[in-house]
């Protein structure tokens, strides 16, 4: 009976401690709920309603049939009708569209004459998971769309090879290599994980050990303390970036088309954004353990909803909305845009501004909360 009583004593103690540690308790309930919602509802490996642009030099009965066929497939969502191809290319570099469907002048004439006119689809293949299913369906969609119209004396055009020659240009990643998309993305993921956690833990450790009180008793301003603590980790992040980019280039053969300086400024901004977040976490967490848990809480949606693991366009609107609030989402667009698509400042300015706003908000929050922790 003694043994049972001791077992009981320990059981009771564990339950009391479990209830006291709110953060751990929240993790135990929160993580399964978040995972269920994200994996169950938000993540979709067969993304539909992908944004696309149309560049059509003619508008006929046949072209309308083809376009409505694309739309009816639910893979393509024609958000833009463009006047020239350059405009469409810009949209693609900005990451606003996944496809450009182009129809050249004379398409209908050639079709009727049995000349198998070309139908060109330009796809952003930087993330193969986004485009592959839609492209796989494209030939069927075209053939089915024309089946109703090619009747009577035109019926013989429905040969085995189809009435139209479908040409697909996979841009930015013609060989559909997954690493091209994953490796640059990893840069963002690794920077998020380490930057947020390192600052949050380093700051919380100082509070736990009483060092913070010591620093505060010396004539140091909160901003000085914050800058002094953040700067070394910006350097650490820079070294991590160098390692990943060199590995991307020389081990995984990932192309680097764009401007190095543009990427570098994105990296620095992104690191600062994460450090500010880590600093804010450190003002919330009461122990290093809690700092770690908070980081994990943030990290999970970051990798799932940012477009790192799963196509951003595959997610429902509410999940995309959350994703837009995460700095990783915007950084992924910057790093993939610069490395794979050769995107320039004009293409990526919005993403930079988004991270900048996040940084300013977090930095302000960190300073305000930090000042309050003294009292």
């Amino acid at each position: 009976m003694n043994r049972l009583s001791r077992l009981w004593a320990i059981l009771i103690k564990e339950f009391i401690q479990m209830r006291r540690d709110r953060m751990t308790f929240a993790m135990m309930l929160g993580i399964p709920i978040i995972q269920l919602i994200l994996f169950g509802f938000a993540i979709n490996n067969d993304p539909k309603q992908l944004p696309a642009a149309i560049y059509a030099e003619e508008d006929t009965h046949f072209t309308r049939a083809i376009l409505s066929g694309f739309a009816a497939s639910r893979y393509f969502n024609f958000e833009h009708v463009v006047k020239d191809l350059d405009q469409a290319q810009t949209l693609m570099k900005k990451g606003e569209i996944a496809f450009i469907v182009t129809i050249q002048a004379g398409f209908s004439r050639d079709l009727v004459n049995g000349l198998k006119p070309q139908l060109l689809i330009i796809a952003d293949a930087s993330d193969p998971a986004v485009s592959s299913n839609a492209l796989g369906q494209a030939a069927n969609i075209v053939n089915n769309a024309l089946r109703h119209d090619l009747t009577g004396h035109l019926a013989n055009l429905q040969s085995k090879t189809g009435p139209v020659e479908l040409v697909i240009h996979r841009k930015f990643n013609p060989e559909n290599i997954t690493q091209y998309n994953i490796v640059p993305g990893l840069l963002g993921v690794i920077l998020t994980m380490t930057s947020v956690m390192i600052t949050a833990m380093a700051m919380t450790r100082e509070r736990e050990r009483g060092n913070l009180e010591n620093i505060l008793a010396m004539p140091a301003q909160p901003l000085e303390v914050m800058l002094g603590k953040i700067f070394p980790y910006v350097l650490v992040g820079a070294v991590q970036t160098l390692i990943i980019i060199l590995a991307a280039r020389y081990i995984f053969d990932v192309p680097f088309i764009g401007y190095v300086l543009l990427l570098l400024s994105g990296v620095i901004l992104f690191i600062i954004a994460n450090l500010c977040l880590g600093f804010t976490f450190s003002t919330i967490a009461k122990s290093q353990m809690q700092a770690m848990q908070l980081t994990f809480f943030f990290f999970l949606p970051s990798i799932l909803l940012s477009g790192f693991m799963f196509p951003f366009w595959g997610m429902p609107k509410w999940a995309q909305f959350i994703g837009e609030a995460l700095p990783l989402t915007h950084f992924l667009r910057i790093v993939r845009g610069v490395m794979l698509k050769g995107a320039n400042w004009q293409h990526l300015a919005t993403e930079f501004y988004a991270i900048l706003i996040f940084t300013l908000v977090m930095g302000l929050l960190a300073i305000l909360r930090y000042q309050r922790t003294l009292d």
């Binding site: 050990r209 009483g210 060092n211 009180e213 010591n214 620093i215 505060l216 008793a217 010396m218 004539p219 140091a220 301003q221 003294l374 009292d375």
Partner: protein, 309 residues
């Protein structure tokens, strides 16, 4: 120049709904050593933190070294050394690195020289490259004192600096404090040790966030209004229980082979002791111990709430 180092009035600090410090007035002259005493949670640490500008008072005003404690805390910090209750230097830095950090934080001139001198003074030159975390309690305390005095502060705030330190180290520590005091440094030290309280020029007794009494040791004992008797005799302990039951006696304590009793009403105690039950006991009037005065003051503060001030 004024000879007042610290002057505060009606200092109040609330954390949420809890009032930790409730209206404290202090007037501390330069070069004095003041002892802060009081039970745990009486507001000693919070008061010290408000004086050096670490905490903003909820209400009240004051000045420290001629600077306003609310608006000019930046200047106070420059001239104050604050030694926290728990060792708060970096255990993963070496002894020397900790001192160098402090020197840089205060932007000291001739900082290398000052660090070397400080190391020599605390006798840690040989071990300067050891991690501070590996030091024992007494050595950590010496390092902390050296670090908070490195910038030659005019005011030293020491929060229970000698907790868990052996008697030899405590004695050396106090010798150092008095040396600094002679050089004109004002020292505020909180402690639970009565012998340390007796080394202070003035003591302040806090309970429940209120200042109960202040003055020299003799004044505090006198202020308590206590009388004390020493009882000796064969098997003196047997009387303890009976004495404790007497209403006029507030405290009974063993001191070696004797019993000390304290109370307020001298004649009533004497009348009680005159009973034939105590004819085997010799009674001698003595000066009450500081500890007895404090315990009595704490009890009075508890029973009469804020009325006793």
């Amino acid at each position: 120049m004024s000879d007042v180092a610290i002057e505060v009035e009606g200092l109040v600090k609330k954390f949420g709904k809890k009032t930790v410090v409730n209206g404290i007035d202090l007037n501390i002259k330069k070069g004095q050593v003041w002892g802060f005493l009081g039970p745990n949670g009486s507001g000693k640490t919070t008061t010290i933190r408000m004086i050096c500008g670490l905490l903003t008072p909820t209400s009240g005003k004051g000045s420290c070294l001629g600077y306003d404690i609310i608006r000019e805390s930046k200047f106070i910090k420059q001239e104050t050394g604050y030694m926290t209750q728990h060792f708060s230097f970096w255990e993963d830095l070496t002894i020397k690195e900790n001192l160098q950090f402090v020197a840089r934080m205060y932007n000291l001139t001739k900082s290398d020289e000052k660090v070397v001198n400080a190391l020599a003074e605390i006798g840690l030159q040989q071990r300067q490259d050891q991690l501070a975390g590996n030091l024992s309690g007494g050595w950590k305390q010496r390092l902390a004192l050296a670090a908070v005095t490195l910038h030659q502060p005019k005011l030293l705030l020491l929060d229970e600096p000698t907790a868990g330190v052996d008697p030899q180290a405590r004695r050396e520590f106090w010798a150092h404090i008095h040396k600094l005091s002679q050089q004109g440094v004002t020292v505020l030290v909180s402690t639970h040790y009565m012998d340390e309280a007796q080394r202070c020029d003035q003591i302040v007794y806090l309970a429940n966030g209120q200042l109960i009494t202040t003055g020299t040791v003799a004044q505090v004992i006198q202020h308590s209004g206590l009388v004390s008797f020493r009882l000796t005799g064969h098997n003196i302990r047997q009387y303890s229980e009976e004495l404790q039951k007497m209403k006029c006696i507030q405290g009974v304590a063993f001191y070696g082979g004797s019993l000390h009793i304290v109370g307020k009403d001298k004649s009533e105690i004497e009348a009680n002791l005159a009973s034939s039950r105590f004819n085997q006991v010799s009674v001698e009037a003595v000066v009450p111990e500081l500890e007895e005065a404090f315990i009595a003051l704490t009890q009075q503060a508890k029973s009469s709430g804020s009325e006793y001030q």
